[in-house]
Symmetry: C2
Subunit: 335 residues, 2 copies
DNA sequence: GTTAATATTGCAAAGGTTTGCAAGAAATAA
DNA sequence: TTATTTCTTGCAAACCTTTGCAATATTAAC
């Protein structure tokens, strides 16, 4: 049905090996003949059979972009940004296969299927998958968190970022600060926890004086958690949220109670989703550029696949983005 | 390197054809032997070489999920929902390759590479891609809009949906309604335009009395457009937006100007993103369930690929979701 | 026990490509 | 002209499966 190099060879009156060499410039082919073959291939609408190439070279042109899950518990923003970042680097050299690790059937991973994997892991349940990939020798890069000692990673300074934003709140005079953390078992949560706690203890805050609620990093959970905090502690002047989505929820919970942001309650986030900077309530947050992280990971993977040398971890700073959801306590009386 | 059926055959003392038959239950194999072969395969960690299977069967296990673009102009919400919908149906039977049609290199499409395509087209620039796929005989389903007479589609009642929400505004007594449309060249925009216009003329509204601004379906454009509308027409009581994202922007633009939603200005959306129902400002909108659309499309594609019969178009209703961003004009004086 | 029918198995080809090897052609050197 | 080197080219094997066909083993029927 489809045009093969044999068809081209027959038409051009050469052997198919010559066609193959002409097509991908591997061996030497007489210039004129090469031109002619390329022209014929084009006019016949030849498309290389990827399956055959993969079989022969035992190399695929697929890159797996692996998320812990595709369900509602992954943030649409992050997913989108990661795709943008990866695409920007990979272009059309490879196909990008979006995989949900929680749906993986153990034992079905194959080197001939994936030239490399980009792992966007959120949970330790992904370990089995990662282990399988490692056993099969598939090049892997972890983006967003370290997952395994042998897997190069792009990591951002979660701890330092959170420290910066907590410091900022404290510098602005806030002392009664509520915290909305994310899923406690995630590494990102633990690092961010360490970060805010480090700042807090440096400023001499007492653990008991910091009320903490837990969300799941999604909008609605932030709204509920903020509600609980505000209802239980009417002396709070600020709420530090472990990500932007929950911070958005917290803003709503605050205004729902007739309180103003930032006049009555200051709120901070983490991620700097683009939507966080749009509204009139422009979130003070920590920039964690998912596009950049993903792009960096893709670059590393490409290098890894092509040169074979294990890339070194990449460490990205997180920048504090000061906007208008944090008030200065020195300049006003307590509520 | 990797384990092949020959290795299994050698170990089990049978021919590799027998192993093949045992493995995928095609021919008859003595029960005891079959068990043994499966056991050996498992213990040796056998993974079928997809490339070889694809080559032999000239059938791939990849489904292309094709967006017009992956850049910032695709909505993260929709992208996410579509992925969820497709995954729910496809599971792990196929790999899902996310493709950006604007990055496609013409002539590189191949039946052996894609078992089928799900087309989420937003612009006519995708036509070249679709035409190539059609010429190559790759099964395709269009989701979200009709793209080609020969391509079965899952379409929702854009026009009817917009008619419903415009009707609702008019029933509530609004007569000075501003409109924020999306990119004028998109089919969805035209259909939605027809819908609101049909309702408007049925109620005897004059074209000149309806100010229209154009956004690009993203948040920020809605904010800007609403700003223009409000600044230029201080008698507006409602703004009808062509999607939820722009409606969110419009809400912000409204509150930025010290106006309240819905007391001063009513606002409606289209899409019913899950985030639209979370805040205290819960958007009145039209439900357009992307998860459902994508799932339906995936089901059709599967049927198409397996049975070969061209599926019929699927038509989904769009439901008006009344929430709290529309006020009743009869109950209050004009602003 | 013989024949016929059926169940099980192996052989070999095929699918489209790449590539080592050897042969042939052309160019250079003597 | 002949010997040597360098380009070009074709042959054939290999990558791993699936599957039609023929061969063999097993069972059933008489």
């Amino acid at each position: 049905m489809a045009v093969t190099i044999k068809d081209i060879a027959a038409y051009a009156g050469v052997s198919y090996s010559t066609v193959s060499r002409a097509l991908n410039g591997s061996g030497a082919v007489e210039e004129a003949k090469k031109e002619k073959i390329l022209e014929i291939a084009r006019s016949m609408g030849y498309v290389p059979n990827q399956a055959a190439i993969m079989l022969k070279k035992s190399k695929s042109r697929n890159i797996g972009l692996c998320f812990s899950t595709i369900s509602k518990s992954t943030s649409p923003y992050i997913l989108h940004d990661v795709l943008i970042g990866v695409y920007g680097v990979i272009g059309s050299d490879y196909h990008i296969i979006v995989k949900a690790m929680d749906m993986h059937e153990p034992g079905t991973l194959n080197q001939s299927n994936f030239a490399g994997l980009l792992i966007m892991s959120q949970t330790d349940r992904d370990e089995e998958f990662v282990e399988e990939a490692r056993a099969k020798g598939i090049p892997m890069i972890a983006i967003s968190r370290r997952i395994h000692s042998g897997v190069p990673a792009v990591v951002t300074d979660e701890k330092g970022g959170m420290e910066k934003v907590m410091d900022y709140l404290l510098e602005q005079g806030h002392r009664r600060i509520g915290v909305i953390e994310g899923n406690p078992n995630l590494e990102a949560t633990m690092l961010r926890h360490e970060g805010f706690w480090q700042a807090a203890s440096r400023w001499g805050l007492d653990a008991k004086s910091i009320p903490i609620e837990y969300g799941n990093y999604r909008y609605n959970s932030g709204r509920l958690a903020a509600g609980k905090l505000l209802d239980a502690h009417n002396d709070l002047t600020a709420i530090l949220c472990f990500n932007d989505e929950m911070a958005m929820g917290a803003i709503i919970a605050t205004t729902e109670r007739g309180l103003k942001v930032p006049e009555d309650i200051s709120i901070t986030g983490f991620d700097n989703l683009d939507i966080s900077g749009y509204a009139d309530i422009r979130l003070t947050t920590v920039e964690r550029n998912s596009i950049q992280i993903a792009a960096e990971g893709a670059r590393m993977l490409l290098a890894y696949m092509q040169e074979g040398a294990l890339p070194k971890d990449v460490w990205l700073e997180n920048r504090l983005v000061k906007r208008n959801t944090v008030s200065n306590q020195q300049q006003r009386v307590n509520r």
